[in-house]
Symmetry: C2
Subunit: 229 residues, 2 copies
């Protein structure tokens, strides 16, 4: 069984690697803006799920074709499980993605400082075997995020770092932005871009156990060991 | 201003580094068990704060002596801000540290699966200048953690990884254990071992701004960028 992450996000890959998986990355090339424009107006959870499914399906079709081509040559090709995700922040009565510029990021922070937002991530998991999508499971997770009030000097230093410009909602939980998140209610990996407990449940729904993907003895790394010393 | 982390924990160092700081590590050598045995019975928050302060003070005394010795030779020595922490999990009506053995870790998980615990981390921040501890601030943060129900096969694979044996509460949030945490209420960095938002407030209480410690342009790393791709 091969695991494929249908996402270019280094943050999602980082979450899966820290949790003991080594997915192959295949980027979907889905045009998100065009797809969103074609969708009828829908709640946040439906939008992130539609985008996650579109990404997983684009990669799934490619893998199914490759399996069929191999079969025509008499070769076996391993079944694959494909995971696609899409994240957006609901804050201040709108659904926001990456700010792109320091000016937009500054506006976002001015609006959200001291307040609360909700990070939605859609997850789609497909099992592709013998050239067909055998099973699929799609769900979202929502995590509420309480933002701190950075001082003007802190906010300018944060904007100057470049980090908030490239991320949905203009903040990270696991980078410099962690100083300015007072707390969350929900799953932190969902905020970073892929919920581990939800992915585990969706894998089970398509018939794949986490232990089918885990190495027999995952390596403990220096970075993920809390120590009382 | 130099920042000193009075902890041997690679997880705490990892949190601070991902958040843009490069502390010097000085381990306190405090005998935690002996110190806890001397403390009168006290609530969780007082115990973790007492241990965090003992660690920060042990390192602070060393740094103060070094500053005094330098001053006697006419040298200037930079002021230092020292951060000490201690973490414990309150679960199933007891305060637990590292399980140490697979047997104890299995018992802990059997008791806590599907339930909720509270991760307490005590934080002590000292400002040491001209050979004296000028200011200090001590507080704890508490984060509630909702545990999943791993299957028997998953639990055995997790125990076999060795990870849960070496960490307070027999789980990590940012490692393999992330699969088995359904969600939290509070600050995730507090669960890993050092709360970023609380540390920011304690630094301010001793007169140190985060921006005094941040590099002028913190580097964005590939691993802490959430991407919608």
């Amino acid at each position: 069984m091969q695991l494929v992450l249908a996402s270019a996000s280094p943050a999602r890959l980082g979450v899966l690697r820290a949790a003991g998986l080594s997915p192959r990355v295949e980027v979907s090339q889905v045009d998100e803006e065009a797809l969103l424009a074609r969708l009828p107006p829908a709640p946040c959870e439906q939008r992130v799920c539609a985008l996650a499914l579109a990404k997983a399906e684009a990669v799934g079709r490619r893998i199914a074709s490759a399996q069929t081509a191999h079969a025509a040559h008499g070769d076996d090709r391993a079944p694959a499980v494909i995971v696609g995700c899409d994240s957006m922040l609901w804050v201040d009565n709108e659904l926001v993605g990456k700010p792109g510029t320091p000016e937009v990021a500054r506006q976002r922070w001015t609006a959200m400082a001291g307040g609360t937002g909700t990070l939605f991530t859609g997850h789609a998991v497909l099992l592709v075997r013998d050239g067909v999508v055998e099973r699929s499971a799609v769900k979202h997770a929502a995590t509420s995020v309480r933002f701190a009030n950075p001082t003007a000097r802190e906010l300018e230093a944060y904007l100057a770092s470049g980090e908030p410009l490239a991320v949905a909602g203009a903040f990270t939980l696991d980078g410099l932005g962690g100083w300015f998140v007072e707390g969350i209610d929900g799953d932190p990996s969902n905020v970073i871009g892929i919920s581990l407990p939800l992915t585990r449940r969706l894998l089970a729904e398509v018939g794949v156990a986490l232990t089918d993907l885990w190495p027999h003895r995952p390596h403990r790394t220096a970075d993920n060991v809390r120590d009382k010393g």
